[in-house]
C-alpha cells in the first residue's frame, strides 16, 4: 500500500520536476516569470493527443515529436512575449505571458473542447506485477523518462560548451554580451528548452490525470511553489521542491488509508481540495517566513 502511494508520488513528482525545471531555467535566463509555462504543459498534453490520434506511432516517438514541437513553440513564444519587451520593467513581460496564456488556453478550448481528454501512454497502459506488488506501467515509464530528460538537461548545461554559454548568459547577461556571447540566441534557446520540458511533462501527465484547457494555472502555481521551496533560481532546488509537493499531494489525502483512525477524525481534511488549499497556504507561509526557500540559494547572485 505504502509502496504504491510512494510510487505514484514519485511519478507525479517526476512530472512536476520537469515542469519546475523548465520554469526555473527560463527564470534564470531572463529574470522574468513566465506565466504561460503552465499552459505549455497543457499544450504538450494536447500535442501528444493530436499526434497519437493522427498517427499510430509508439508513445516514445510521440514524446520525441512533442519535445520538438514544443521547442519550436518556445522559440516563437520568446519572439512574441519576451523580445519586444526586453528593455521594459519585468512586470510588462509578466503581463505579456499572461496574455499569451489566455491565447493558448482558448485556442486549446476551441480546438479540443473543454472536456477532459486522456493522452497517450509512453509505452502501454496496464500494470506490471512483481511479487505481490503491482505497479502501473505508466508510472514507471514516467519516472524513467523524466529521470533521463533531467539527466540530459543537466549534462547539456554542465558538460557542453553550449551549456556553459547558456549558464553564463543566465547569470550575467551584460557581461556575457561583453565577452561576445550571442545573448539573444541563448535566451531564445532557453525558452525553447523550457517549453520542451514543459511539453514533455504535459504528455506524461495527460495519461494519468487527463488534460483540460484550464490546467495551466494549476501547473504554474505548482511550479512556483516548487521553486519557492527549493530556492528561487536553483535548478536542483526546483526538482527537490517538485518532489516534495508531489509527495504531499499524494500522501496527505491517503493518510486515512495508512492510519485508519484518521478517517473518523476529520474526513473533510483529507480530501484533494483540502490538501490543495493547504499547499497554497504552505506557499504563503514559506514566502512569509523564509522567502529564500527551504534550501536557500546555492548560487549567490551578484548584488
Amino acid at each position: 500500500m505504502l509502496s504504491q502511494i510512494l510510487l505514484n508520488a514519485l511519478a507525479l513528482g517526476a512530472s512536476y520536476a520537469l515542469v519546475a525545471l523548465g520554469f526555473v531555467v527560463i527564470l534564470n535566463a531572463t529574470g522574468a516569470v513566465n506565466f504561460t509555462h503552465g499552459d505549455m504543459v497543457m499544450a504538450g498534453g494536447y500535442v501528444a493527443l493530436a499526434v497519437s490520434s493522427a498517427t499510430s506511432l509508439p508513445g516514445v516517438a510521440v514524446l520525441a515529436l512533442v519535445i520538438v514541437a514544443m521547442a519550436l513553440v518556445g522559440f516563437v513564444f520568446s519572439g512574441l512575449a519576451y523580445f519586444p519587451l526586453k528593455s521594459r520593467p519585468p512586470v510588462a513581460i509578466f503581463i505579456s505571458t499572461i496574455a499569451l496564456g489566455i491565447i493558448f488556453q482558448n485556442s486549446a478550448n476551441a480546438l479540443f473542447s473543454a472536456e477532459p481528454r486522456k493522452g497517450p501512454p509512453l509505452f502501454a497502459d496496464g500494470l506490471i506485477t512483481l511479487g505481490d506488488i503491482s505497479m502501473p506501467r505508466q508510472a514507471l515509464a514516467i519516472i524513467g523518462v523524466a529521470a533521463l530528460l533531467i539527466l540530459a538537461q543537466h549534462l547539456l548545461l554542465s558538460r557542453t560548451s553550449l551549456g556553459r554559454k547558456l549558464r553564463a548568459t543566465a547569470q550575467d547577461r551584460e557581461m556575457a554580451a561583453a565577452i561576445g556571447l550571442p545573448v539573444n540566441a541563448m535566451i531564445a534557446l532557453t525558452f525553447a528548452m523550457g517549453a520542451a520540458l514543459a511539453g514533455a511533462a504535459g504528455m506524461m501527465l495527460s495519461n494519468t490525470f487527463f488534460v483540460t484547457p484550464t490546467d495551466g494555472s494549476n501547473y504554474i502555481v505548482k511550479a512556483y511553489i516548487a521553486v519557492t521551496i527549493g530556492g528561487w533560481g536553483s535548478l536542483a532546488g526546483a526538482v527537490c521542491g517538485a518532489l516534495l509537493i508531489a509527495l504531499f499531494e499524494v500522501l496527505f489525502p491517503s493518510l486515512p488509508l495508512l492510519i485508519p483512525s484518521l478517517k473518523t477524525l476529520a474526513p473533510w481534511l483529507f480530501t484533494q481540495t483540502a490538501s490543495a488549499i493547504l499547499l497554497y497556504l504552505g506557499l504563503l507561509a514559506i514566502m512569509f517566513f523564509r522567502p529564500q526557500g527551504l534550501f536557500g540559494e546555492t548560487v549567490q547572485r551578484r548584488v
Partner: protein, 234 residues
C-alpha cells in the same frame, strides 16, 4: 613606429556633460601604461570611450591605424580591444575553468590559452573547480583579467583592478601586468592606487578633471609634485 592606440584631442562625455577635454594619449604594443587620477577624473570615461560605450564628441581615436569612431562596440571587440570592468563580474555559478573557457573563441575550446593563463596566475589553477562566487576578491580580479585574456586581446583595458582589494592582493594582481605586457598585449591600467600602478607600468598619464596634467616615464612621474595636486588639490 606608429602607436597601437593613438588618441588625439579627444573630447567625450555623457549627453551635455563633457567629462574629457582635449585628451592625447599613445600606447604601443607590449607597453603597460598607467592612467592615474582621482575618482571622477575621467579614467573610466576614457576606457568606455575606447570601448565604444561612450561616444566621442570630437577628436580622433585610432587603433592599429583604423579610425575607431566608425566601429561599433562588437567590432571594436573583434579588433582586439578587451575591457575588464570595474567590479570584476565573474560568472558566479561557473567554475574558474568554465569562466575561462566560456570566453574563448579558439578552435580547441580555449584549453591551450587557459593553460597559459594558469601560468600567469598560479593561484587560479589551485581553484580551477571552485565556483565564481566562492572566490575571494583578489582571485575574482585575477579571473576577470584571465577571462579577458582568453579573447587574445591586442589591447587590454583594466578598470580599477585594485578596488575592494587589500594592499597585499593589489600587489599580487598588479604585478602580473608587466608579465601580460611582455606577451605582446598592450595594457592600459586605470588605477586609484597610484604608487602601485606606477611601479608596474612603463609609462603613465595623470588625469585631473578630464585633462591630462602630467605624463611620461612611470618611475620619473612618481616623484612629480603634480601627482599629489591631482588628487588633493593645490
Amino acid at each position: 613606429m606608429s602607436a597601437l592606440l593613438s588618441i588625439r584631442s579627444l573630447a567625450a562625455g555623457y549627453g551635455a556633460i563633457t567629462a574629457l577635454y582635449d585628451l592625447c594619449l599613445d600606447i604601443d604594443a607590449g607597453e603597460a601604461v598607467a592612467l592615474v587620477g582621482a575618482n571622477g577624473a575621467g579614467k573610466s570615461t576614457l576606457m568606455k570611450c575606447i570601448m565604444g560605450l561612450v561616444s566621442a564628441q570630437s577628436g580622433e581615436l585610432r587603433f592599429a591605424g583604423a579610425n575607431l569612431a566608425r566601429q561599433r562596440i562588437a567590432q571594436r571587440a573583434a579588433l582586439g580591444i578587451v575591457y575588464s570592468p570595474e567590479g570584476r563580474r565573474v560568472f558566479p555559478g561557473l567554475t574558474v575553468h568554465e569562466n575561462l573557457l566560456v570566453a574563448s573563441r579558439d578552435r580547441d575550446g580555449g584549453r591551450a590559452k587557459a593553460a597559459e593563463i594558469y601560468r600567469i596566475f598560479p593561484a587560479l589553477e589551485e581553484k580551477r573547480q571552485s565556483l565564481g562566487w566562492s572566490l575571494s576578491g583578489g582571485q575574482q580580479q585575477m579571473l576577470a583579467i584571465g577571462r579577458a585574456l582568453m579573447l587574445n586581446p591586442r589591447l587590454l583595458l583594466l578598470d580599477e583592478p585594485s578596488l575592494g582589494l587589500s594592499p597585499v592582493l593589489t600587489t599580487e594582481v598588479l604585478n602580473r601586468v608587466r608579465q601580460i605586457a611582455a606577451t605582446g598585449t598592450a595594457v592600459l591600467l586605470a588605477e586609484q592606487n597610484v604608487h602601485k600602478a606606477l611601479s608596474v607600468s612603463h609609462r603613465a598619464y595623470v588625469i585631473r578633471l578630464g585633462r591630462i596634467v602630467a605624463q611620461g616615464d612611470a618611475q620619473v612621474l612618481r616623484d612629480d609634485p603634480t601627482l599629489k595636486q591631482a588628487f588633493l588639490g593645490a
